[in-house]
C-alpha cells in the first residue's frame, strides 16, 4: 500500500485484514452504503461513518461500535459502492478485530458466532438445537422473544433434530482448522 497513511495506521491495519480492501482509502464518503443498508437505522454509526472514523484513527470507538454486528451481509453496499470497496468483507474483519480485543459492549452477537463455530468444530456440521440451547441458556432466553414457540413449531414439523449430525472426517477437518487458526493475520 502506497500513500501518506503510515503502515502503522488503523486504516492500514483494517485494510491488511481484508483481501481487496486497498480501495478503502479512495472512499468518497458518498453515503451509498449507509443509504442502502437495510439495518442501517439501527446502527450506532452507518458504514460510511465508520470508515470516516477509521480514517481518523478512532480505533476504540470503531471496534466498540455495534455496526458490524448489525450487518446482515446482504451485499447491497458492496454491489452499489462506486469505488469498489468490499464493504461487507470489511464488516466481517471489524467483527474479528472486535472479538480479538473483546471490544463490543453487548456480548450477544460475538457469543452467537462463537457458539456456532463451537458446534462446527465439534461435529463438522451446524446443530441448531444444540446451538440454541447452549446460547440461549446463557443469554437470557426471555429477552430473545419467540425462540420458544418457534422451536416448538419446528419440532412439530420435523424440522429440528435433537441429535447432531457428525461428519466422518472430523480428524481431517480438525487438522485443517487447527493449521488455519495458527496462521497469522486473521
Amino acid at each position: 500500500m502506497h500513500g501518506p497513511s503510515s503502515d502503522e495506521s488503523f486504516m492500514a491495519e483494517v485494510i491488511a485484514t481484508t483481501p481487496g480492501a486497498e480501495t478503502l482509502i479512495t472512499c468518497l464518503q458518498c453515503g451509498t452504503c449507509g443509504g442502502s443498508c437495510p439495518s442501517g437505522a439501527d446502527m450506532d454509526h452507518t458504514p460510511r461513518h465508520l470508515f470516516a472514523m477509521i480514517s481518523a484513527g478512532m480505533r476504540e470507538e470503531v471496534l466498540r461500535s455495534n455496526t458490524p454486528w448489525y450487518c446482515v451481509a446482504c451485499y447491497y453496499c458492496t454491489a452499489r459502492c462506486p469505488k469498489d470497496i468490499p464493504i461487507t468483507d470489511l464488516m466481517y474483519s471489524l467483527k474479528r478485530m472486535a472479538v480479538r480485543e473483546k471490544l463490543y459492549d453487548d456480548r450477544d452477537a460475538p457469543d452467537w458466532s462463537k457458539s456456532f463455530i463451537g458446534m462446527v468444530d465439534s461435529y463438522g456440521r451446524s446443530f441448531e438445537f444444540g446451538l440454541a440451547t447452549r446460547y440461549h441458556l446463557t443469554h437470557h432466553p426471555l429477552r430473545k422473544v419467540g425462540v420458544g414457540p418457534m422451536a416448538l413449531d419446528m419440532f412439530s414439523k420435523d424440522r429440528m433434530s435433537l441429535k447432531p449430525d457428525r461428519i466422518k472426517g472430523m480428524g481431517q477437518l480438525r487438522a485443517i482448522l487447527d493449521t488455519a487458526k495458527s496462521q497469522e493475520a486473521m
Partner: protein, 675 residues
C-alpha cells in the same frame, strides 16, 4: 574534412548539476572525444543567453555541428535547432542528449551518473558528425475547412472561420444543426433560454455565404494529410427535394404515422414519420424517416406527396456522395447521455415518474411535449415534490470514473425551474457541489436562498414500496444524509436523474476514421491536456467541445473558437512544414514484397503497380521506423536515423571498450527499490 563539434552541457540549475559533474564532463568531452572543437557548461542552456552562446560559437569558432546535453528533445529540441538556424547552421545538424530524464533523474549515484553521461555525450558527438542537412517539406494548406458536428462548438468554429473569409463545410448527421443545446430549455447560470441564444447563431450559419451546410450527412472516408485532406461524404436521402421545398410543413401535418421521437424529444414526445426535429430547424427541410414511413413499409399512404403544394416529395431519392478537398478538419461531435437503466435501483424505466435530465429539459421547454408544463408521466398532474439525484453513472467505477462537470449546475437550474413553475419542494442528493466557473457559486447561493433543499448523500435507491406514513403513492428516495449521519427516506412525486455525459456510441469508429486517438473512456485525445486542448497528435485534425471531454457551453464555445483560430493560423501562413525525419524507399533495392505496406500505422506507404515498388508519402510519414526495421532487403532508409548514424551512436556508448584502453566501466548495480 573533419567536423567542428560544439558540446554544451547544461546544469539545468541543480537538476542535472546536482548529480552530474557538468564542468568535468565538458572538459572530458573536449579532451577525449574526436571532433570536439569547443566544450562548455552553462547554468540554463535554454535561456536566451545559453542560446546565444551556441550562436556565437557557431559564428566565431566556425562550428559545423552542435551537441547539447540537457533535458529532453521533447522539451527543447526546437529551441536549440532554432538557435542553430539563427546562426546560419542547418537545424538538423544539432543533436540533443538527455542528461536529465535519462541520467540525473534516474539515479542519485554520482559515479553511475557520470559514467552514463560520458557514454551518452560520446554517443551524441559521434552521431552528430554523420548528420545530414535536411529540409522540411513545405506543403500548401487548402483554405477550406471541414467541421464535423453542428452543435454549439461546431457552429462556433464554422462561424469564426466563415467570418474570417474562409470556406467551411459543416457536416451534421441529424436533419438539423443545433446539437444538444437545442434540446435544452434554459442554460445556467444566466437562465438564458437556450433556443434564444442558439438560434441566431444557427441562423447565421444557415445564411452565411461561406458556410456550406451539409445536414443529414455523414463522413464516410478521410484520406490525405494536413493541408490536403480528401473527404468522402454521404448525403442521406431526405426524400424531399430541397430546391422545391418551401418548409411550409403541410406534409408533417398530414402524415398519419406518429412515432416516439427518441432523439430530439429524448423519448418523451412524438413526431411524425416525416418530420423536422424542432420548429427552428436549420435547414428548414423535413426528412422522411424511412424505417417508420407507411409508404416504405407497405407501399400505401403517400399523404405527404398528395398534399405538398410544390411537389417536393421524392420517394425515389437516393443517398448521394460528395467528395471534398479541405486543408484542416475540426471534430465537434458532442456526447451521448448515460443509459440510466444500467443503475436499476434508481427505477428509470420501471417507475413511471423517474426522468432523465434530457427528458426533463424537453418537459420544461415551451416547445416540448408538455408545452413547458412540469407534470408527471400521466401528462396532467403537477408534482408537489421533486428529487434531483446527482452523479448517476459518474464518479462510479462500475460505469464512468470521471465527473461529468455540468450535472451539479444542471441540478441547480432544474431546481429553480421546478420551484418557479410549480412551487414544489425540491431536494438535491449530491456527493459534492461543483459550481466551478464564473457566477456558478453565486447561482448555488441563489438556489439556497430560493429554498432548495440539499442532502449530502448519494441516493441509494428510489422505490415505490412504502414503509412509513406519508409514503403511500410516492416515490421514496433513500439515502444517508451524511452530514447528520442518518439514513433518510424522502417521499417525492418526481425524481430527476442527472446522468453522466459519455462519448458518442460510435466515438471509437469516428476516431479511427479520422486518424486520431481516444482515451480509455472514449473521449478524443488532445495533444496536451493543459497546454494544447484543441489539437490532436494528428496534424490538421482538431477537436472541440464535449467530444474532448465533459464540459459546459462556455467551454465548448471557447474550444470551438480556439480550434477555428488554430486553423486560421494554418490557413494564413498558407503552407505547413512537414518534418523531414521520414523514411524513403530506394527503388533499386525494393523487390515489391509489400511487407511494409500494412505495417505503416499512418497508411503512408502506397504500392506503385506500374513500377512494382512501394512508395512512401513523405507528408504522411511520421518517421516511426517500423518499415525501416521490417524491410528484408534493407531498402528503406529512415532519414536522421540511418544505419550509420545509429551504429555511430552505439559506438559512442561503448567508447571505452572501443578505445581498448583497459578501463572497464563497472557493471551498473540494479537500482535500489523505489529509487
Amino acid at each position: 574534412m573533419a567536423e567542428r563539434v560544439g558540446v554544451y552541457v547544461c546544469h539545468c540549475g541543480s537538476n542535472i548539476a546536482g548529480t552530474v559533474d557538468v564542468e568535468g564532463l565538458a572538459h572530458w568531452a573536449k579532451d577525449n572525444l574526436d571532433g570536439v572543437t569547443v566544450a562548455r557548461d552553462y547554468k540554463f542552456m535554454c535561456s536566451s543567453l545559453g542560446q546565444e552562446l551556441i550562436e556565437q560559437d557557431i559564428k566565431e569558432q566556425g562550428l559545423t555541428r552542435v551537441v547539447v546535453g540537457a533535458c529532453s528533445p521533447h522539451l527543447h529540441e526546437k529551441t536549440f535547432r532554432r538557435a542553430c538556424a539563427n546562426a546560419g547552421m542547418n537545424p538538423y545538424l544539432c543533436h540533443m542528449v538527455s542528461l536529465r530524464e535519462q541520467v540525473s533523474w534516474v539515479t542519485s549515484d554520482k559515479g553511475l551518473a557520470y559514467d552514463k553521461a560520458k557514454a551518452l555525450i560520446s554517443a551524441g558527438v559521434r552521431r552528430v558528425q554523420l548528420h545530414e542537412e535536411l529540409e522540411p517539406t513545405e506543403v500548401p494548406v487548402n483554405p477550406n475547412t471541414l467541421v464535423v458536428g453542428g452543435g454549439i462548438a461546431g457552429i462556433q468554429s464554422a462561424l469564426e472561420l466563415a467570418d474570417a473569409g474562409y470556406q467551411v463545410y459543416l457536416v451534421e448527421r441529424e436533419p438539423s444543426i443545433g446539437g444538444h443545446m437545442a434540446q435544452f430549455d434554459k442554460t445556467f447560470p444566466t437562465l438564458d433560454c437556450a433556443a434564444c441564444i442558439l438560434t441566431p447563431k444557427m441562423s447565421d450559419v444557415g445564411g452565411h455565404p461561406n458556410i456550406h451546410l451539409l445536414s443529414y450527412s455523414e463522413v464516410e472516408e478521410v484520406t490525405g494529410y494536413v493541408g490536403s485532406f480528401h473527404v468522402r461524404l454521404k448525403k442521406k436521402a431526405r426524400y424531399i427535394k430541397e430546391d422545391d421545398c418551401t418548409g411550409c410543413g403541410i406534409c408533417i401535418e398530414k402524415c398519419p404515422k406518429r412515432v416516439v421521437d427518441e432523439v430530439f424529444e429524448a423519448g418523451l414526445g412524438y413526431r411524425k414519420a416525416v418530420y423536422r426535429p424542432f420548429p427552428q430547424a436549420i435547414p428548414k427541410y423535413p426528412v422522411i424517416d424511412r424505417a417508420n414511413c407507411t409508404y416504405f413499409e407497405r407501399g400505401t399512404c403517400r399523404a405527404c406527396e398528395k398534399f405538398c403544394p410544390t411537389n417536393a416529395i421524392d420517394f425515389e431519392q437516393a443517398d448521394t456522395y460528395l467528395d471534398l478537398e479541405v486543408g484542416n478538419i475540426i471534430l465537434a461531435t458532442g456526447y451521448d447521455l448515460f443509459d440510466t437503466t444500467q443503475i436499476p435501483q434508481y427505477g428509470y424505466g420501471r417507475l413511471a415518474n423517474v426522468f432523465t435530465s434530457l427528458e426533463f429539459e424537453r418537459m420544461c421547454n415551451a416547445a416540448g411535449p408538455t408545452e413547458g408544463k412540469i407534470v408527471l408521466r400521466d401528462g396532467v398532474t403537477q408534482p408537489k415534490s421533486v428529487a434531483l439525484i446527482h452523479c448517476v453513472g459518474s464518479r462510479d467505477k462500475r460505469h464512468h470514473p470521471y465527473c461529468s462537470a455540468v450535472c451539479c449546475m444542471s441540478a441547480l437550474k432544474f431546481g429553480h425551474l421546478v420551484m418557479e413553475k410549480t412551487g414544489a419542494e425540491v431536494t438535491s442528493f449530491y456527493i459534492d457541489m461543483r459550481p466551478l466557473h464564473k457566477n456558478y457559486e453565486e447561482f448555488y447561493d441563489r438556489l439556497q436562498q430560493e429554498g432548495m433543499h440539499f442532502i449530502r448523500g448519494r441516493a441509494a435507491e428510489v422505490t415505490d414500496a412504502a414503509r412509513l406514513p406519508g409514503e403511500d403513492g410516492k416515490l421514496i428516495v433513500q439515502a444517508e444524509d451524511t452530514l447528520i449521519g442518518r439514513q433518510r427516506r424522502v417521499p417525492v412525486d418526481m425524481v430527476i436523474l442527472l446522468g453522466a455525459l459519455q462519448p458518442r456510441a460510435d466515438a471509437r469508429e469516428t476516431a479511427i476514421r479520422f486518424g486520431i486517438s481516444c482515451s480509455i473512456d472514449g473521449w478524443f485525445t488532445e495533444r496536451h491536456p493543459k497546454l494544447d486542448p484543441v489539437a490532436t497528435m494528428t496534424d490538421g485534425l482538431f477537436i472541440a467541445g464535449t467530444c474532448q471531454g465533459p464540459k459546459d457551453i462556455p467551454d465548448s464555445v471557447a474550444q470551438g473558437a480556439a480550434a477555428a483560430s488554430r486553423v486560421q493560423g494554418m490557413i494564413s501562413s498558407g503552407t505547413v512544414m512537414i518534418e523531414p525525419i521520414v523514411a524513403s524507399i530506394d527503388e533499386a533495392r525494393c523487390s515489391g514484397c509489400r511487407i511494409c505496406n500494412n505495417m505503416c500505422p499512418f497508411n503512408a506507404i502506397d504500392y506503385l503497380e506500374d513500377r512494382g515498388v512501394s512508395f512512401i508519402n513523405a507528408a504522411l510519414c511520421k518517421g516511426c521506423g517500423t518499415c525501416v526495421a521490417a524491410c528484408p532487403a534493407m531498402a528503406i532508409t529512415g532519414a536522421h536515423f540511418n544505419y550509420a548514424q545509429i551504429t555511430a551512436e552505439l559506438e559512442g556508448i561503448l567508447y571505452d571498450a572501443m578505445r581498448g584502453n583497459g578501463h572497464a566501466v563497472a557493471a551498473p548495480e540494479p537500482a535500489a527499490a523505489g529509487g
